[in-house]
Structure formats: structure tokens, C-alpha cells
């Protein structure tokens, strides 16, 4: 048992630090003004798609190198990228897409030229995703599908040009075997996107309606009826990303700095022992989780399997995000209520409240915590489901 990084890993860490020092935006104004320079530098370095394998132009990093990259980058504020194309769809395309599909879609995904959205959840299919009903019927000549139904909680559908979508092509037999994976152009006639405003009044998610939407058969990934298998692999990519442990550690450090500037009589909030103790309790959980993630990465590197510790990362990682967000709004005090006048109160207050409200979704999306517990019970502890 050894926690030291190898010589190669240390050299890689230095390379990442040098690169970030040279190209990463230094402050929030540079975040927008230097945005294009940053993506250009990433692409020239070959680090614009860190998770991709070498044969698709990725760097082919080891699990430990990924950890180093995540750890180093989260100390910076980097221009955000939506995960749907590069992180979520690309691995499916690479594995199950045809040569034509790869050539057609991958370059634009790589360059962020096309916004993708994910068409999974439906009003009647949330945690129980396999009960989805959006119907896709293949024409008699086998050239196109006609899609009817609705998808919900579709993040950024109002900005997306394309959707990757799970549809039902067969309603008899095993539910999971009648699902087909389609790529749908959002400009196709018959698609209507309606906004859904979430807690705090934000618009990120939508409901998408399909009324006789025509989808050419060449936009189907893999075989008809195999979509569930393809999507399951993709869900794991989504889950591994949303634990966000390194990001929460950085956020907690920012909270400490911010709390030091929050007045509390003649002292600051950081002098409040009860508040600081709660920061410490959260930090201890994060230290444990950070090491659980390392154990999982090291296991993946040495054995090819992420190990049992990995199963808790999404479940506890999202809980810790939420606990950090709670502490942030508590630090803001009454100024978290003010969503209009910018000059009043600590500067982090308004954003803190927004993140707190939006952050409730973290224990719901990507498999809600209750489903995660069912999965751990079954896969790790060997507890069988009722009725099976």
C-alpha cells in the first residue's frame, strides 16, 4: 500500500500545472475574454477530450492521470462545457456507432460546434427509466422512424441542435429489450420544446414533445431493441462525473475565505465555533470520499475494476455538494434572500442561494439516491430485490 505518485505521474502533474499556469483564465473577466484561447490551447495540446481513448484523438490517460487532471483543474475557474456531447454521447458513439455516424458526429462534438441534449426521462419514467413510452415506429420500407411521445427534464433542450434519445420500438416482452437509441435533429418538424422553471425560477430544463417526428434509420445507434444496453454504459459515465468531490473540496475552501469576510459583530463568521465545526464535519467526510475515490482509481488502474469503494461516490458525493451549499446559504444569512440589488451583502450570496436551490437536483438526476442504494444493496452487498 503506497500513496506516493510515481515519477511519471509527478512529471504529468507538473506538465498539467505548467499548462494551466500558462493558459487557464486568471479571473472571472478572463473567463469570457480568454475563452477561445483556452479551448484552442487545449486542442493544440491534445487535451480537449481528456476521457477519449488514443484512437479517437484523446490522450489515453490512466485513471490516476485523470484524477490529477481533475484535481489540478478544479482549482481554476475554467470556461464551462456541457457534458452531453463529449462526455456522455461520445463514448457510446465510439463503442456502438457506425463508421458513418462516427465520421458525421464526432468532429462537431470535439469542437463543441453542436449542442446535444439527452432524451431519457419521461413523465411516467423517472427512476424507473425502462418504463419509457415514447414510441418509434419503423416505416414499411425500413427507411425512417416516426416518433411520438414526450421527454421531460431535458437539460438545455432549448439550446440544443440534436438529441440522443431512448425510444420504444416494441411494447411486448422484456421491457428493456424493446428500447432503441436514436439521434434526433431538433429542427425536425413536429418537435416542440416547452420550458420548465425550477426552484428559484431558473430555466435549464424542458419538456420536449414529439408529434409524428421523422427520424432517418441511419440515425439509429446499433441495433433496434438494444438501446438499453448502450444507455446503461452511458449512465455510468454520467454518475462517475457528478460525484464532483474535488470540486466540492475547492468550493468548501472558497466558503472558508468568504466566511472570513462575513461580519459577525466585532468578529467574523469564521470565529463562530459552531459554524466552523460544521465546516470541519463536512471536510472530514470529503477527505474520506477523496480517498475512496483514490482507492477506486488505483484499483481500476491495477485490476481493471473500480472496486467496491466506487459505489458510494455518487451517493455521498452529491450529499456533500448539498451540505456545502447549505453552509453557503447559512453564511449568506439574510442576504441570501435578496435576488435583486447587487450591492447589498456578501457578493457570493445570490449565487450561493441559486446553487443551493438548483443543487437539490444532484441527488435526483443520474439515478436518485434511493435507487443508488438499491444498486449498492444488490451489486455490492448481494441483497436480492423483493420478488426476485
Amino acid at each position: 500500500m503506497d500513496i506516493q505518485l510515481t515519477e511519471e505521474d509527478l512529471a504529468f502533474q507538473q506538465e498539467v500545472r505548467d499548462f494551466l499556469g500558462q493558459y487557464a483564465p486568471k479571473n472571472s473577466s478572463e473567463l469570457w475574454s480568454k475563452r477561445n484561447d483556452w479551448f484552442k490551447a487545449l486542442k493544440e495540446k491534445g487535451w480537449d477530450c481528456p476521457k477519449w481513448p488514443v484512437e479517437f484523438g484523446g490522450p489515453g490517460w490512466s485513471p490516476v492521470q485523470h484524477y490529477i487532471w481533475d484535481k489540478e483543474t478544479c482549482a481554476y475557474s475554467l470556461p464551462p462545457e456541457l457534458p452531453f456531447g463529449k462526455v456522455m454521447l461520445a463514448p457510446i458513439l465510439m463503442r456502438y456507432g457506425s463508421k458513418e455516424q462516427i465520421e458525421r458526429f464526432m468532429p462537431d462534438i470535439r469542437d463543441n460546434k453542436v449542442n446535444w441534449c439527452q432524451g431519457y426521462s419521461e413523465p411516467g419514467a423517472g427512476s424507473d427509466l425502462a418504463s419509457l413510452k415514447t414510441k418509434a415506429e419503423l416505416s414499411a420500407d425500413g427507411t425512417e422512424y416516426t416518433v411520438n411521445g414526450t421527454k421531460i427534464w431535458t437539460t438545455m433542450a432549448h439550446m440544443a441542435q440534436w438529441m440522443f434519445c431512448l425510444t420504444r420500438t416494441q411494447s411486448t416482452g422484456v421491457r428493456q429489450e424493446g428500447i432503441t437509441f436514436l439521434l434526433i435533429n431538433m429542427k425536425t418538424p413536429g418537435i416542440v420544446v416547452k420550458p420548465i422553471f425550477t426552484l428559484g425560477g431558473s430555466h435549464h430544463v424542458n419538456q420536449v414533445f414529439f408529434d409524428n417526428v421523422k427520424v432517418p434509420v441511419e440515425n439509429r445507434i446499433g441495433e433496434e431493441g438494444k438501446g438499453w444496453t448502450y444507455a446503461k454504459g452511458l449512465l455510468q459515465h454520467e454518475r462517475s462525473g457528478i460525484a464532483g468531490i474535488s470540486r466540492t473540496i475547492v468550493a468548501l475552501d472558497k466558503l472558508k475565505k468568504n466566511a472570513r469576510a462575513v461580519p459577525d459583530g466585532d468578529q467574523t463568521l469564521l470565529d463562530d465555533r459552531a459554524f466552523v465545526t460544521r465546516i470541519a464535519e463536512t471536510e472530514i467526510e470529503l477527505r474520506a470520499l477523496e480517498f475512496a475515490e483514490l482507492r477506486s482509481l488505483a484499483d481500476a488502474q491495477h485490476t481493471g475494476e473500480p472496486g467496491t469503494a466506487s459505489s458510494i461516490l455518487k451517493l455521498k458525493g452529491t450529499e456533500m455538494q448539498q451540505r456545502m451549499q447549505e453552509l453557503t446559504i447559512e453564511a449568506a444569512g439574510i442576504y441570501g434572500l435578496n435576488q435583486g440589488f447587487k450591492e447589498a451583502g456578501p457578493k457570493f450570496s445570490k449565487m450561493g442561494m441559486m446553487l443551493y436551490l438548483n443543487g437539490r437536483a444532484a441527488t435526483v438526476y443520474g439515478g436518485c439516491s434511493e435507487v443508488q442504494k438499491d444498486v449498492i444493496a444488490k451489486r455490492v452487498l448481494g441483497l436480492v430485490d423483493a420478488g426476485t
Binding site: M1, D2, I3, Q4, L5, T6, D9, S28, S77, L78, P80, G244, R247, T248, D253, K254, K256, K257, N258, R260, A261, L270, R273, V276, T277, A280, E283, I284, E285, R287, A288, F291, A292, L294, R295, L297, A298, D299, Q301, H302, A309, I312, L315, K316, Q321, P346, K347, F348, M351, L355, K373, D374, I376, A377, L381, G382, L383, V384, D385, A386
Partner: protein, 395 residues
């Protein structure tokens, strides 16, 4: 970076596990004997102690030049995890973890040569006489005094919960040689013969079926050769011993917590009520998952604190406080959950889960409880320099 155990560590683990399961019987029939055994001195099986010595377990962490195997903190972690699962009654913790480490970290070459080979052979038994009533959690609050005179020191005071003191051949006594009562400076460690004149003991069984004593020192004499380490600088050694002891307790706790969630999963899968196994109920299943999650988080802190201590990293101290806090909190949760989910059977001492539950509860106040260590963590918590940062977006 690699979290696998070496082949030697795996062999060590397997051999301890096998012995405790097959020959020691603590996880099976031996369970019912624990309470009875703890009522009478020495509270354990002397023949077992000799076997531990023969199998080399007592010398795992002792350097080869003193007759040991020369293992590191990871080896001790492996041993303690298995001993925890096996619910042993023998004084491994007081003798090897507290005592031998105090000699190793504070002793002169002569003291090490005099004492450590005897520990490895199972002939020398040690313990640490440290805790005092007024101190509660504070390890520097010592009222026991050692007064200098011409030929040495005279010790006076009372020590509480001295583990296995009745079996020990020597006691390591923490006494004040200068300074105010809670001053970290001015403490000195003394090696005192267990039968020295002026020592009176009241021996008793502990709730976790072990043995301990209240020990009174009345004008007990100690010469220069009995000083362990430097006069007035004893806290440096004591603190290092406590760190190692917390890592050992952490390993013991993690071993027990793993057994608790596994036993509970098994029991609730077999126990049929309302026409189906209890584990089919989501409320039961999810509580077992929570037990598993807490166990793995505690294990992660254990690995973190142990590997950092081994690598000599400064952050190890903070992680040691985090570990002791977490094992107190998570150990209680996992233990209580196991008892709850075992229903009526959980209330008895017939199953090992009851013994794990009690041992975990007993561990929390040892060497500072969870509140104490959480506050020490707060004292050391890093507060980054710099201006407030309004950009708190998580990317």
C-alpha cells in the same frame, strides 16, 4: 499509488483470520465465554498469548534487531483489523500498541534491548498508565507527580482505566515533573515495575469483556534508568504513541464494522417475517447500505491516515483526528443499526454483533472522544489565504 496489500500482508491476514476462526473460537462458541472470562483475572487465555508469540504476531511492528519482524504501520493495520474481527481478549493493544511503541519511540538503546525482545516472546507485558479523572479528554492534563530527589523520583497519583494492569510486568506511567497541571511541557514517562512498592490496584472487568484497573501510586520510587525518553519532554513520545494507538483502534473498528454490516445482511436475508426475508424491505436494505457506506468512509480515513503517517506527511495528524472522530460516530451508527436490525436477537450476547457493538461503543472515549478530536481537527483546519471569492460556480 497502489492500495493493494503485499503477498506477505495477505498471508499474515489469512493466518490470523484462520487461527481466530478455527482455534480461538471467538467468533463461534467462544462468544458465550467472553463475559464469564472477563470476570476473573487475567481475563484471557495465557496459552493463547504464548501462541500469539509463537506465530510472530507480537513482533510484527518491532524491528528485527530487537527480535521482531520489522513490519510497518500497514502491517499493524492488517493485524489489528483481524484481531478486531476476532474479538480477542488478550492484551495486544496495551502491550504491543501502547507499551512497545512507547519504548520504541522514547526508550534508550538499553531499554529497547531490555524490554522489546521480551515483548516479542510474550514474556514482558506492558501497559500505559495515563488517564486521570480530572483530565477527561485532555492528554496533557496530568496531576500525578514525580518529585525529584537525590537518587531519582517519587511518584504520587491515581490513574484510571489502566488496561490489563494486573497482567502487566511493567507500567509506563505518565507523570508531571514540572509545569502547571495541563501544560504539555513538564511531562515525563517512567517505566515502573508492576510490583513496585507503593502501587495499589483495584482490578475490574470492562463492559467490552476486557480487564482494567484503577492504579494508585503512593511514594513509588523510580531511578534514572526508569525514565523513558527525556525529562519534561514526555508528551512528544506520548503524542506519537497516541497517534499510533488511534490508527490501531481505527483498524480494529473497521474490521468490526465490516463484520457488522455483513452479519446484518446475512441475518436479515434469512429472517422471514410477513412472508418474506426482512432484507426485502427497502427500509431495512437501505439501512444496511448506510452501514456499508459508513464503514467504507471510515476505512478510507484509516488508509489515508495510515499511509500518510507512513510517508511522514504533516497532514497525517489532521487525518488521525478525523479518523478518531469518524470511528466514534460511524462506529456507533453501524453498531446500533446492527443491534436494531437483529431485533430481539440483537439484545442478547449470544451473537457476535452484540460484542462488536459494545466494543465500538467502548472505543469512543478511549484516547479522546469524537467531540474532542473534531475540535482538534478544527484547530488544525486549513483556512486558505486570500480575498473573498464571489465566483463560487462549481466549474
Amino acid at each position: 499509488m497502489d492500495f493493494r496489500f503485499t503477498e506477505e500482508q495477505q498471508l499474515l491476514r489469512d493466518s490470523i483470520e484462520k487461527f481466530l476462526r478455527e482455534d480461538y473460537g471467538s467468533t463461534g462458541v467462544g462468544i458465550s465465554e467472553r463475559r464469564k472470562k472477563s470476570r476473573k483475572a487475567p481475563g484471557y487465555d495465557v496459552a493463547n498469548w504464548a501462541t500469539f508469540a509463537d506465530l510472530g504476531w507480537l513482533g510484527v511492528a518491532i524491528p528485527e534487531e530487537y527480535g521482531g519482524i520489522g513490519g510497518n504501520l500497514i502491517d499493524t493495520m492488517v493485524v489489528m483489523e483481524e484481531l478486531g474481527k476476532g474479538l480477542i481478549l488478550e492484551p495486544y493493544f496495551p502491550t504491543v500498541v501502547l507499551g512497545a511503541n512507547a519504548v520504541l519511540l522514547g526508550g534508550t538503546e538499553t531499554q529497547k534491548r531490555d524490554i522489546l525482545p521480551g515483548v516479542v516472546e510474550g514474556k514482558v507485558l506492558l501497559t500505559l498508565a495515563h488517564a486521570e479523572e480530572q483530565a477527561r479528554n485532555n492528554p496533557t492534563d496530568i496531576a500525578t507527580t514525580a518529585t525529584k530527589h537525590d537518587s531519582g523520583w517519587t511518584l504520587n497519583g491515581t490513574k484510571s482505566l489502566v488496561l490489563n494492569a494486573e497482567s502487566a510486568t511493567q507500567l509506563i506511567v505518565v507523570a508531571r515533573t514540572s509545569g502547571n497541571r495541563a501544560d504539555p511541557n513538564g511531562l515525563t514517562l517512567f517505566l515502573v515495575d508492576a510490583k513496585a512498592e507503593g502501587i495499589t490496584r483495584t482490578d475490574y472487568p470492562t463492559v467490552d469483556c476486557l480487564r482494567a484497573s484503577e492504579v494508585r501510586f503512593e511514594n513509588v520510587l523510580a531511578g534514572q534508568s526508569q525514565v523513558l525518553g527525556t525529562i519534561d519532554r514526555g508528551f512528544e513520545v506520548l503524542e506519537a504513541v497516541i497517534h499510533r494507538a488511534i490508527l490501531a483502534l481505527g483498524a480494529e473498528a473497521v474490521g468490526m464494522m465490516e463484520m457488522l454490516h455483513k452479519d446484518t445482511a446475512e441475518y436479515t436475508s434469512q429472517r422471514v417475517q410477513f412472508g418474506h426475508p426482512l432484507s426485502h424491505l427497502q427500509t431495512v436494505k437501505h439501512r444496511i447500505v448506510d452501514m456499508f457506506v459508513e464503514t467504507e468512509l471510515t476505512r478510507s480515513l484509516l488508509y489515508r491516515a495510515t499511509t500518510e503517517a507512513l510517508a511522514g506527511q504533516a497532514s497525517a495528524t489532521q487525518d488521525m483526528h478525523a479518523l478518531k472522530y469518524k470511528l466514534g460516530k460511524a462506529g456507533r451508527f453501524v453498531g446500533q443499526s446492527a443491534v436494531q436490525l437483529h431485533g430481539g436477537m440483537g439484545q442478547t450476547e449470544d451473537l457476535r454483533i452484540g460484542h462488536y457493538f459494545i466494543r465500538l461503543a467502548a472505543m469512543d472515549p478511549l484516547l479522546g472522544d469524537k467531540d474532542y478530536h473534531l475540535q482538534r481537527y478544527v484547530d488544525l483546519m486549513d483556512i486558505p489565504e486570500g480575498e473573498p471569492d464571489a465566483n463560487i460556480l462549481p466549474f
